[in-house]
């Protein structure tokens, strides 16, 4: 028996089992819940790195669940793209899990903490399940696990979060239903649910109206789940009022996994030429995402609430990724996939800092950031790094992905979109330099002198780790592209 050949299934099953065991621990010894929860996510990080190494060394991993052959049973297929996503999701969930220890104590009552940890683990399970699976219906099941736990995690935040969560439920269910309808349409004309089997079957059916409708429904359904601009209504409220650990985790992973599903559907399930050449869909998506970038950035300027500003920036970033996927050349795709990693780190780090500031001064208003560097120098240094990366200043990670995206846009001839991308970076600069100025240089007489120190160590470490990771990944982004992302390019790019 060799456990490492089972690591692709263990990464889903271990957090799943842990979420049940957490319920038992609640009745046996409540203090053990938190260490157990962090330990399990730590194991997941180790497993995900193991999977990535296996994929780099031996190529695509296939795992037949229940021992059944592919179109009859469910199959796990892990290539470079999946493995990359799993590493991102598992490490972000681990980092935010460490962070959640102190931040959650103020926001959730003690008796409910074990249930919170269980739900968090279930959200992680759902995301892992979506990432590794090679079956479109199995993907729907895990999408629902992830969504249900995300609704609940949002709803336990501040008072207004409940209404936000309700909107999230309505929108999320419409998205999931559209996805399920897409699965149904595909199933009726092919009779199969396995992605590799469908890749073989679908090309002969590209002329059919059903295929096109199914693809459109997939895209709209996932578009709701990733909050692409006109469908974004649920996101700002949810991430503003959710507990800070939840906003950090969800913003860093949920939408990124949605982007991954979009890539899978558009380029693995269907051939790239179907989306790009045979139908106008990719052209529509390019303009759609350009509008998303423009309006996301524009609305972000006007916000006073820091978390809400970040939410609108996140909407713009989602636009970047959808844009990069659809322009249909190598640079754009590399930029989009690299941006998944960078954006996950940057947004995660910024949301954690927002939560940290809220933990200390009890406010999310940007006006209250005046002179914070005297009290929280390390956190604010991390904030500076993340902000610079968000703007796209060279040594940080954010620069490289944006560079690839702009090069791709220019190469494909979408000059307007390239201008909008640069405009969005300038808007980010405007927003973040305004905050940085408040933090470092404002010495207003009216500024209240806060008498507190740095954040507790358990919140400090995750913030510092993500900030350092932004710098390090910036230096090594060439390596990441040549060893992982290059192999995940779709056929014909």
């Amino acid at each position: 028996m060799n456990l490492s050949e089972h690591s692709s299934i263990l990464i889903v099953v271990i957090p799943l089992i842990a979420s049940f065991v957490n319920i038992f621990l609640n009745f046996l010894q409540r203090k053990l819940c938190y260490p157990f929860f962090v330990l399990v996510l730590g194991i997941c990080v180790a497993l995900s790195i193991d999977i990535l190494c296996q994929v780099i060394n031996f190529g695509v991993l296939r795992y037949r669940l229940g021992g059944w052959m592919a179109p009859w049973g469910i199959e796990y297929v892990i290539d470079h793209l999946n493995a990359y996503l799993i590493v991102i999701v598992s490490s972000m969930s681990f980092i935010v899990a460490i962070y959640s220890k102190d931040s959650v104590k103020k926001e959730i009552s003690k008796a409910k903490l074990p249930y919170f940890y269980s739900t968090y683990l279930l959200l992680a399970t759902g995301l892992f399940g979506i990432t590794v699976t090679g079956d479109i219906f199995n993907l729907y099941v895990f999408l629902e696990i992830a969504s249900l736990s995300a609704y609940a995690l949002v709803a336990i935040g501040e008072k207004r979060s409940v209404l936000a969560s309700f909107h999230y439920i309505i929108m999320g269910t419409i998205g999931a239903c559209f996805y399920l309808l897409g699965v149904g349409y595909i199933y009726i004309i092919t009779g199969s649910l396995n992605i590799s089997d469908l890749t073989r079957l679908l090309p002969s059916l590209y002329e059919s109206k059903v295929t096109l409708t199914a693809l459109a429904f997939f895209i709209v359904g996932i578009g709701i789940k990733i909050a692409l601009f006109p469908l974004h209504r649920w996101l700002p409220d949810s991430y503003t009022f959710a507990p800070s650990a939840v906003s950090a985790f969800a913003s860093a992973t949920v939408t990124k996994v949605g982007i991954y599903v979009l890539i899978r559907i558009s380029f693995t399930l269907f051939e790239p030429k179907f989306l790009i050449e045979m139908t106008p869909l990719s052209n529509i998506l390019i303009w759609w995402s350009t509008i998303a970038i423009f309006f996301g950035s524009l609305i972000a300027i006007g916000q006073k609430d820091f978390k809400r500003t970040l939410s609108y920036i996140l909407i713009a970033e989602i636009g970047y990724m959808v844009f990069g996927i659809n322009i249909g050349n190598k640079e754009g795709f590399i930029g989009a996939v690299l941006h998944i990693l960078n954006d996950s780190l940057m947004i995660g780090c910024l949301f954690m800092i927002a939560g940290g500031v809220f933990y200390r001064i009890g406010s999310r208003n940007i006006e209250d950031f005046n002179g914070l560097n005297r009290n929280m120098p390390i956190t604010m240094a991390a904030f500076t790094i993340a902000a610079l990366s968000m703007i796209g200043i060279p040594p940080t990670a954010g620069f490289f992905s944006k560079w690839y995206l702009i090069v791709g846009a220019v190469k494909a001839g979408y000059l307007v979109s390239a201008v909008i991308l640069i405009f969005s970076s300038l808007v980010n600069a405007l927003i973040f330099f305004r905050i940085l100025e408040k933090i470092y240089f404002t010495k207003n007489e009216n500024t209240p002198m806060y008498n507190f120190r740095e954040l507790p160590i358990s919140m400090m470490i995750p913030i510092v780790i993500t900030a350092l990771a932004i710098l390090i990944i910036g230096l090594y982004s060439g390596e990441i592209i040549s060893s992982v992302i290059k192999f995940s390019l779709p056929k014909g790019f």
């Binding site: 609940a152 709803a155 409940v162 309700f166 439920i169 309505i170 269910t173 419409i174 239903c177 649910l193």
Partner: protein
Amino acid sequence: METVIGKYNYWIYIALMMIGFYAMIAKRNLVKKIVGMNIFQTAIILFFISTAYKKDATIPILIKSQEVIDPAKYINPLPHVLMLTAIVVMVSTFGVALAVIMMLYKQYKTLDEDEIIEILRKKK
């Protein structure tokens, strides 16, 4: 005419789906919204189930003594399995949505979305 006879079942389910969808996005009462959600999901389930049907076929429970099994004599079991899963998902979503609605009712003492937004605006 043949199209109508061959496809009318799909059309009925699509009409049902759209009734649910309309309720989800247009109704202002929260409970009506999730009732619409239920109609939508149930219609999708009916849609899937109808794809499993074959003419003159029976339920896929085999009789052991049979030697040669003709798949055309039994309806397709796969959509049934998928829809068992979808039913459970539907029930769970409904439960979670009801829980959230109850929390909302506890906070605002109303189930109308417009009234809730009005209350929130007054607080500001």
